[in-house]
């Protein structure tokens, strides 16, 4: 009897132990896939950047030479800075045009206008298209001869404004950035709207009683309370604008035509890693160094922005 009970409890204990142990299998699939396809490639890119590459053959360890070349050797360094300032412009224009407008539109929808749901859907719809579709669609719209934009300008008697939008170094980059704003507007509207809607109504009522109106209400009451959503949008826009690749590639090719006036760091990186369309040789070492620089730049900036966001939240 005694021994029988013992074996029974031991069996149970073993079972329980197995149960406790097998839960550790739960995170394994996610860890493996994430580790192999996200973490490993970034660490590998870091190591690649310290080697000399001949095509896809790894040569000798050369320390920081790739980084040095990237910033001092022509044409690499001027291509880097050319692309870098385009990314900066990308970020600034998106912040001002796309997010500024989105803030205004979210504010308008927040005023309980009729058809709010329709407006939300309308602004958001472009976000559902593939970026490549967006790029190709606008390429047709921007076409100098048959594109809808120039034809529309002609109809309004504005022939003087007609332009080879994507063929002119002065307008091409701006055209692409504005297309990106068209694509991203609705997302920002929704984030800002969620921000507005999370402001307690009592607070606004109280401010009204204290005599705050229109402009004062916006700057003194609403804006400070919107800081978290503004920060989120800033971080997302920053990451996205420094990763900008698809639209430029779809509309202007891997050379950032015309004359690299629409080149961005990610497109430049693509050229280094896979060679441009004109059959340039690949430069995996330099490409990896650029990837690491870009990665450090993006993550440092994001970390700083997130930290500022935390601080602001605590202050409030």
């Amino acid at each position: 009897m005694q021994t029988e009970l013992n074996t029974e409890t031991i069996k149970q204990m073993k079972q329980r132990k197995w149960k406790r142990w097998n839960i550790h299998l739960f995170p394994i699939p996610a860890l493996v896939i994430y580790g192999l396809f996200i973490v490993y490639p970034l660490l590998a890119a870091l190591s690649y950047s310290f080697f000399d590459w001949k095509g896809i053959k790894r040569g000798a360890f050369i320390g920081f030479d790739n980084y040095k070349d990237l910033f001092t050797l022509e044409p690499f360094s001027s291509m880097f800075w050319n692309a870098f300032w385009h990314n900066v412009l990308y970020f600034i224009v998106q912040m001002v045009v796309q997010n500024g407008l989105a803030f205004l539109l979210a504010f308008i929808i927040y005023q309980k206008i009729r058809g709010a749901e329709f407006f939300k859907i309308a602004y958001f719809l472009p976000r559902l298209l593939s970026v490549i579709v967006v790029g190709f669609l606008w390429k047709l719209i921007f076409n100098p001869n048959f594109g809808a934009l120039n034809v529309l300008l002609g109809k309004f008697g504005l022939e003087s404004l007609q332009e080879a939008w994507l063929g002119n170094t002065k307008t091409a980059l701006m055209a692409i950035i504005l297309v990106n704003c068209w694509f991203g507007l609705g997302f920002s509207v929704l984030i800002f709207l969620a921000g507005f809607q999370s402001i307690p109504r009592e607070l606004i009522e109280a401010a009204k009683l204290d005599g705050a109106n229109g402009f004062k209400m916006l700057t003194k009451i609403l804006l400070p309370l919107m800081v978290p959503s503004i920060m989120i949008i800033t971080v997302l826009t920053f990451i996205q604008s420094f990763e900008a690749f698809e639209l430029v590639y779809a509309m202007q090719g891997s050379q950032g035509e015309p004359y690299r006036s629409t080149d961005t760091l990610a497109v430049y990186f693509y050229r280094l890693a896979f060679g441009g369309s004109s059959g340039d040789s690949t430069a995996i070492g330099l490409g990896s160094a650029l990837a690491v620089v870009l990665f450090i730049f993006i993550s440092t900036f994001t970390a700083i922005l997130l930290k500022m966001m935390k601080k602001k939240e605590i202050e409030m």
Binding site: N22, H24, F26, P27, P29, A30, I33, Y34, F37, I38, V39, Y40, P41, L42, A44, A45, L101, L105, I113, F119, K120, A122, Y123, F124, L125, P126, L128, L129, S130, V131, I132, V133, F136, L137, L140, I141, F146, G147, A148, L152, W182, G186, L190, I191, I204, N213, G214, M217, I232, I239, E243, F245, E246, A250, A273, G287, A291, F295, S299, A303
Partner: protein, 274 residues
Amino acid sequence: MKHTIWTRPIYYIIAFLFASISLYPIILMILSSFKPSAEIFMSPLAFPKSFSLDTYRNLLDQIPFMTYFYNSVFVSVVSVLLILITTSLAAFYIARYTFWWNNIMFFFFLMGMMIPIKLGIVPLFLLMKDLGLTNSLWSLIMMYTAQGIPLSILILTGFFRTMPVELEEAARIDGASDLRILWNVVLPLMRPALGTVMIINFISAWNDFFFPLIFISDEMKKTIPVGMMKLFGEYSADWGALFAGLTLSSLPMIILFFIASKQFMEGLTAGAVK
């Protein structure tokens, strides 16, 4: 808020102006897709003279659109399923057990949201080559699954933490295993969060163009977005077919959106607001 008589009309004018800027290109795309190229060149803005489907017939003659479509569906559906399975297991583990490494694991996953993975594309390409996955749809499935894991874990873990544990405890006392508890007790309560995860990841997998551009060169393995590259590269003069291609590739997503617009909009912003 204090209003003058013209505040509201101005609100409506601004709202309508930008609604039309948002919608017009999409409407133009759909209308143009019914026009033969000659008609587009003659009168780009006019309403189509007839809704003939010739442009679509041309399109299907020129590129294997149905193959692209099938590949896109397969890749998106399988990667969404894999994300749901792997991340609900991992998030359950992170949220419900209190091992000392759980927080570290959580942050390890979250890091992925800040990583621009495109920058790792060279090692990824070589890795896929070593695994024999180039020109295989599985290379895309693996990428979309991996890419979707961080945000999905964030959303699901957040949701798990808001759910009371009592139900699970009761099931545990009844002798149910952890897997059974997750499957029978927890997941049915998680439908909204799982829906969000599904929508976010489905859209990004369906619309992605970068990874197939790098990993796939076999015509029969292309997804719709890279298929469009071929169309625009080789038939760039046939605008009717181009617009038909753009419309056809966007239509599935637009239809899904109109079926569940609320869930779409909430889903896509959920990750950011969290």
